[in-house]
């Protein structure tokens, strides 16, 4: 019988990358200590564990750090028994890796750009990029799910976790901007998937309802200086 593993996860409340790791650890039924970092006052442990990027998530397993969320997800999958997160078939694994990379390299910068854009023109451009990327994910869902409920088939898998960790941010953007990144008429498969995913035990455990509220607050606070400046400019 395995001894108790020493697992510590360094994170941030609003990071979707941290959420994805928490989901994976929960799926494996593994217990861990969670530590919220303060980006303005990073802990010694964080700086020592991730000297290259100084970012979260960092998983520290028996004192050894693993960094980069996709690397951590695959590590957790390989190390701990229980449900497979990545597919076992090599071709399906390659497909899952492709879409996880797409979500990280193309979709994330686009939607995060919508959140952080300083000017209307920039935001409009990022909205376009986000909607284009999400259309690709709609096609991806059809291919990966094979008619089942999730990208991973009949249960939640790698791509579900990666894309699913973005959903509370999509909800926040919907509330603040009225923009539906996953729209029931344009991306019906993803819309249905998002509802199923949101209702799952895995999602509910890792993403309390309050996260979307916090994300809304973050967006409002982030945009406040630009909004104030614009107001000032228009009142002169």
């Amino acid at each position: 019988m395995a001894g108790k593993e020493d697992l510590k996860l360094l994170g941030l409340p609003l990071s979707p990358f941290v959420v994805s790791v928490r989901m994976a650890l929960n799926m494996k039924g593994v217990s861990y200590e969670y530590v919220d970092e303060d980006l303005n006052n990073k802990s010694e442990l964080l700086l020592k564990s991730n000297p290259v990027h100084k970012k979260v998530p960092v998983l520290i397993h028996n004192g050894k750090p693993i960094c980069e969320s996709l690397v951590i997800l695959q590590y957790v999958d390989e190390l701990f028994a229980g449900r497979s997160i990545l597919p076992t078939d090599p071709y399906e694994r390659a497909t899952a890796r492709f879409w996880a990379a797409f979500a990280g390299d193309k979709l994330f910068p686009a939607w995060y750009g919508v959140v952080t854009a300083q000017a209307e023109e920039e935001r409009a451009e990022k909205v376009k990029e986000t909607l284009a990327a999400i259309e690709h994910m709609e096609v991806a869902f059809a291919k990966c799910s094979g008619g089942n409920a999730f990208f991973g088939g009949d249960s939640i898998g790698y791509v579900d976790v990666v894309l699913g960790s973005f959903l509370f941010w999509f909800e926040a953007v919907r509330r603040v901007d009225g923009l539906e990144i996953i729209n029931a008429s344009k991306t019906p498969l993803l819309a249905a998937w998002a509802e199923r995913f949101g209702g799952s035990v895995e999602a509910k455990e890792a993403v309390p309802v309050t996260k979307a509220d916090l994300a809304v607050q973050y967006i409002s606070k982030f945009r406040a200086p630009a909004a104030a400046a614009a107001k000032l400019a228009s009142s002169e």
Partner: protein, 236 residues
């Protein structure tokens, strides 16, 4: 374990370092394949249907099924042909996570700015992109130390592995850097381990079989930069 055979086809471009990665992996694993040189100005139907998302090379087609993105392809080759040739990724999950971390670092921190060198318009922007690239190479020296664990000259230790192949695919372009920009990307005085790595890598049979002629790469790069500059000034 049954030997996985089947038809392998690689869609590529002779100059592409990403395609070179795939060729290196296939060579090292002792796999035969059909190679198809694409014309990026006139992409084949096969390329467009195999990689509708990025419309880019390399694409590996195994028994009619396409795998896209060079790092995904290299991992796929390792997974699907596990019985053939050496393992490209370490057996130990933690070592594997370390390798994957440095593979991600290579892409995000070194290759992203390096790509900009060929695209940006002004000399200042080029210099800044080169500066960032060289800074990443400095950090990669530490990565080599960590991955090899003092077991040998390669990231994989005494044998070639995943990160060696990802960086190895870039070698002709690394060598082209000095004639093109005046700066050495891998400088024996600044990053001695990487310089030694490059020498040893080039001695491999697979490298000799696959790596592009540096002078040809220099000419090609000059052509690309001229085209990009012309396109930029036409847009003004």
């Amino acid at each position: 374990m049954a030997r996985v055979g089947g038809e392998l086809k690689l869609l590529g471009l002779w100059a592409s370092p990403f395609v070179t990665r795939a060729k290196l992996a296939l060579q090292i694993k002792g796999l035969s394949y059909e190679y198809v040189e694409e014309d990026l100005g006139n992409k084949s139907e096969l390329l467009l249907s195999s990689n509708p998302v990025h419309k880019a090379v390399p694409v590996l087609i195994h028994n009619g099924k396409p795998v896209c993105e060079s790092s995904v392809i290299v991992q796929y080759i390792d997974d699907a042909f596990a019985g053939s040739g050496p393992s490209l990724l370490p057996a130990d999950p933690y070592q594997r996570a370390v390798a994957c971390f440095w593979a991600a670092y290579l892409e995000d921190k070194m290759l992203t700015p390096w790509g900009r060198v060929f695209k940006v318009k002004t000399d200042e922007e080029k210099a800044e992109a080169m500066r960032q690239t060289i800074a990443a190479v400095d950090v990669l020296e530490d990565g080599l130390k960590e991955c090899s664990g003092g077991q040998g000259p390669f990231f994989g230790g005494d044998s070639v592995g995943y990160v060696d192949i990802l960086l190895g695919g870039m070698v002709s372009w690394v060598k082209a850097s000095e004639p093109l920009s005046g700066s050495k990307l891998i400088d024996a005085e600044k990053t001695p381990l990487l310089a030694a790595w490059m020498e040893r890598f080039c001695e491999l049979d697979a490298a000799k079989a696959v790596l592009q002629d540096v002078d040809r790469v220099v000419e090609y790069a000059k052509l690309v930069m001229t085209k990009n500059a012309a396109r930029a000034s036409n847009n003004n």
